[in-house]
Amino acid sequence: MSDRDAFEDEMGFLRRPERDPDLAEFAGAVQAALVPSQAPGSELIVPRLAEAARATAPTVTAPAAIRTPAPRRRLGLAVRIAFVVALLPLFSAGLAVAGVKLPGPAQSVFESVGIDLPNQADEPAEAPDRGGAAGAGGAGERADDASGAPAAEPGAHGRENAMTERGHGREKSDPAREEGGGNGAHGQGEPGNSGQAPGHTRPLPPQSNGKAIGKTDGTPPGQAKKPLKPAKPSLPAASNGSRGGGAQGEPKAKGK
């Protein structure tokens, strides 16, 4: 049923009184009784109406575009920003749960509020990764493992070697680079990949072929060649190399 249906026709007597004379007469009487022929007090109200329209017109037209939507925009922007800020830690925590290693600053934020993120390795466990990047494979690991202990209590050999090897390394890195060859001379190729601790400028036996001293048959300078004992005796040698290498960023960089 539309507007122009029986319900509209119910009021059809307004247009055609013959449809319902009683109601038509009643409607006429209502109009005559309630609706005045002239608007009352128009001489008083009309100037006020014009004034009210003039007063509202300029304030609405000019700054309307700026004024009216601003609070909503600001509120919407604030809500969005708050939403994004609230999502950031959740996103980081989600990454941590998924097994992603978060960077230090992100972890520290959670640690500062007392939240331990899952799947985040502790600091000591992170060391092998860094050592692996500097050295080569197992040699690098061993060098880093050892770097903790000798650093606290360095042996005489280690200290001497480190000092002398630094000098040697600086002096001989350039010639070594010029000489070329693959026998672990400093300045060659990628020191990290060669696995040789920087500072060891003495040519190594051919069979060592770029492996860290201590792991191979190479003998540290100033030491007589002895049959290798398992693990312990080799650590200081490895620590020498790693410490020397750690202190010698320059030869590495030069080598590249």
Binding site: D3, F7, E8, E10, M11, L14, P17, P21, D22, L23, A24, E25, F26, A27, G28, A29, V30, Q31, A32, A33, L34, V35, P36, S37, Q38, A39, P40, G41, S42, I45, V46, P47, R48, L49, A50, E51, A52, A53, R54, T56, A57, V60, T61
Partner: protein, 184 residues
């Protein structure tokens, strides 16, 4: 009113042209006042003035033709009527026995002829038997000349509810007219 004419009138009224406002007020104020009187507004003339001041303040927001404008003015008047009722409910009201009789030259038209037969008192009595909503619907239809949809918009109701109110209101009017033996 022709669309072009109304558009020019609206533009002039927005700029505060008194002649435009005099025309708008002259066209609509009598019907709005009749609606307010029929609904028993506490002080119809005051409510009428407040309604048109509200129209003047909000005129820049209005968009549409004359018919829509007419409905919009009645909507504002209905809201002001509700406000006036609430306001008067909080303070003692001096009740009037009879609403003021309009000064009408009797016998000049069909409406006046009908009023001469029925009488203003009878009109008010019949209207008083209707519920507030029935009365508002019938007065907006008769005095405001609004369609069902426009009445629904003015009163904030669904059109189906307006149809029911109209039907029941007309039935009540018929009953009252028959009861009093007003047969024309």
């Amino acid at each position: 009113m022709a669309p072009n004419r109304f558009s020019a009138l609206l533009g002039a009224a927005r700029e505060g042209d008194e002649a435009a406002w005099a025309e708008i007020y002259g066209e609509l104020a009598p019907a709005v006042l009749g609606y307010l009187r029929g609904n028993g507004a506490p002080d119809p003339e005051d409510v009428l003035a407040e309604s048109f001041l509200q129209v003047a303040r909000d005129l820049d927001r209005f968009e549409g033709d004359w018919r829509r404008f007419r409905g919009w003015v009645f909507t504002i008047a209905h809201h002001r009527l509700i406000d006036a009722r609430r306001h008067s409910a909080r303070r003692p009201v001096e009740l009037m026995a009879e609403p003021p009789e309009p000064e009408l030259p009797v016998g000049e038209g069909a409406a006046e002829a009908a009023l001469a037969k029925i009488g203003a008192g009878e009109v008010h009595r019949v209207l008083a038997t209707l519920s507030e909503e029935q009365r508002a619907v019938l007065l907006l239809r008769i005095i405001g000349d609004l369609s069902l949809a426009e009445v629904a918009e003015a009163l904030g109701k669904r059109i189906g509810a307006i149809k029911q109110l109209q039907r029941r209101g007309l039935a009540a009017v018929r009953r009252e007219l028959a009861k009093e033996g007003v047969t024309l």
